[in-house]
């Protein structure tokens, strides 16, 4: 009987020891937890018509990985540029250029777009050809003259960098580094780039009293001009309406009589879309010069001058910019009105957006990228 107990005791002790040892030496992936859902925070006045997908739910870990990949230069063919090269936080995720050089120094055909409040965008690029950030991300990564590298090559290169396996594991549950996961993570990060702390936001929330000139600019911005009734207005709000300061529409805004870039017509093949481009948000607009799809206007002043005085007629000119006789509406703002409008547009600058550490380059202080990297591109 006693021997029996002893035997049981030995078995029990051995079993416990085995369990203990297994616990102590279990591989790290056995300890993994599910990624934490990311809490999107935005004002109610933006509305909830947001571009998310059940296929790619936002998680803290996914967004963090996306941020690393957004600033990862090894996603370009010669390790010279990242998404962040043309989309710099200080410029509200533009680069201050009309056109941007790709990894090979060849310039893009259209100006780099600001990445701001993309959560409410449903058609990406100037011509609206991509329906989601996931679809959009693939183009700059793989375009022969942008980052110039296949997603398979990118995945292969990332697999050789040991720091990425834990990031992929945290985000997606295993250390498998795939093209699909690269795309998903960057798309997640892009959705988090929300700007809602400008003076205009504080004004909407009743926390900021605009200056006299800002107030006049605000009224001008949203008022449609009516010569017959002597109403002065710039009529900007027809296309840049509401707190998001854009409508998801395409317009020919009178830049050229014969558009040199087909714009939306490239996607639809329709004549009436010739020279139409997506209406972009004016949030942080003071930071995103030069302006228009081809960066033709160096300053906001030049943009205001265009809408005030230089709208050109064409077959597809936006109805919002035409009078009933089909002529361009050039509202001819006074210098003072233009200054007021400019003051209002500057109210849309969100200084916290361009300094938010959640959106910044995680490699900036780590010496991850050598300074010489920045000089590889011929300009």
């Amino acid at each position: 009987m006693k021997r029996h107990y002893r035997r049981y005791g030995i078995v029990l002790a051995t079993g416990t020891a085995v369990i203990f040892l297994a616990a102590a030496f279990r591989p790290p992936h056995a300890a993994r937890r599910n990624p934490t859902p990311y809490t999107l925070s935005y004002p109610a006045y933006f509305g909830n018509r947001i571009n998310t997908t059940d296929d790619n739910p936002l998680t803290n870990e996914g967004v963090s990985l996306g941020r690393h990949l957004f600033y990862e230069k090894r996603l370009s063919a010669n390790n010279s540029i990242s998404c962040g090269s043309c989309h710099q936080q200080a410029h509200a995720f533009t680069d201050g250029r009309a056109f941007s050089p790709g990894f090979d120094g060849v310039f893009t055909k259209r100006s780099a777009m600001s990445l701001c409040n993309l959560l409410w965008v449903r058609h990406f690029f100037w011509d609206g050809r991509a329906a989601s950030p996931e679809e959009q991300v693939v183009t700059p990564l793989t375009d022969a003259h942008e980052m110039g590298q296949s997603l398979d090559s990118s995945a292969r290169k990332l697999r050789a960098i040991h720091s990425y396996a834990p990031l992929f594991t945290a985000a997606f549950g295993s250390d498998s580094i795939t093209p699909d996961r690269i795309v998903r993570a960057i798309a997640q990060f892009e959705r988090t780039l929300i700007s809602a702390q400008s003076p205009y936001d504080r004004y909407i929330r009743g926390e900021y009293q605009p200056t006299v000139t800002e107030q006049r600019g605000l009224v001008l911005f949203y008022t449609n001009p009516d010569r017959n009734r002597g109403i002065r207005g710039a009529g900007c709000g027809n296309c840049h309406s509401g707190p998001k300061v854009f409508n998801e529409t395409y317009h020919n805004n009178g830049l050229d009589s014969i558009p040199t870039d087909p714009g939306r017509a490239d996607v639809t093949g329709m004549d009436y879309d010739r020279g139409r481009f997506r209406v972009v948000t004016l949030r942080n607009i003071a930071l995103t010069a030069p302006y228009m799809h081809d960066g033709r206007f160096a300053t906001l002043q030049a943009v205001i001058d265009h809408y005030s005085d230089h709208i050109l007629p064409s077959l597809t000119l936006s109805p919002s910019l035409k009078d009933t006789a089909n002529r361009p509406v050039n509202v001819q703002l006074t210098p003072e009105e233009k200054a007021d409008l400019l003051a209002f547009l500057r109210m849309l600058t969100d200084s916290s957006f361009i300094t938010d550490p959640r959106f910044s380059d995680p490699f900036a202080d780590a010496g991850h990228h050598t300074k010489t990297d920045h000089h590889i591109i011929s300009e």
């Binding site: 998801e248 529409t249 017509a265 329709m270 009436y272 077959l315 009933t324």
Partner: protein
């Protein structure tokens, strides 16, 4: 000789489909004919051309322009299009079908909504049309070839231009 013939036939079969596949791209550079798609909660999805609309029962609707000047538009009542597509109208427009709406999408991305009841003759005498003519002439470039005309509406914001899609949807809340 026979073998050469078969080789020729094989080459022909290989080349022809790729030529076909390229055809739409070539056409797109010269501009494609405009159509209106009727999609969503329909029994028969439609792709309506200008010819299709011309062959359907026609009606007119009057609406004012921005300056308050009335114009007569002609086209096809949305209810006619709904009947052709198999949308729940008339006696079928009850119960859960009252939670359906029409989402109109225009070429420039502009969108407006009507509840089905707003467009149904058993609910209202107002006839909303998909117009293709103004004062007997084709709609001008910029608003045509197809637009919505809502008679009697105080604001013209739902008289939208260059309609590309009529989608019937269920409110899913």
């Amino acid at each position: 000789m026979k073998r050469r013939f078969f080789v020729l036939v094989a080459i022909f079969c290989l080349v022809l489909p790729s030529a076909w596949a390229q055809a739409p791209q070539t056409a797109s550079t010269g501009g494609q004919p405009a159509v209106v798609k009727v999609t969503g909660e329909v029994l028969t999805p439609l792709t309506l051309t200008a010819t299709d609309l011309a062959a359907m029962p026609r009606t007119t609707a009057v609406a004012k322009d921005k300056q308050g000047v009335p114009h007569t538009f002609s086209g096809v009542a949305l209810s006619e299009i709904f009947n052709k597509a198999g949308v729940t109208t008339g006696r079928q427009l009850r119960g859960e079908n009252l939670a359906k709406y029409l989402l109109v999408t225009c070429a420039d991305g502009y969108q407006v909504v009507f509840s089905l009841a707003e467009l149904d003759s058993s609910f209202t005498d107002r006839v909303v049309i998909l117009a293709d003519q103004i004062e007997g002439r084709p709609l001008p470039a910029g608003t045509g070839p197809f637009r919505i005309v809502v008679p009697g509406e105080k604001k013209p914001a739902r008289n939208c231009f260059q309609v590309t899609t009529l989608a019937i949807r269920f409110a899913k809340e």
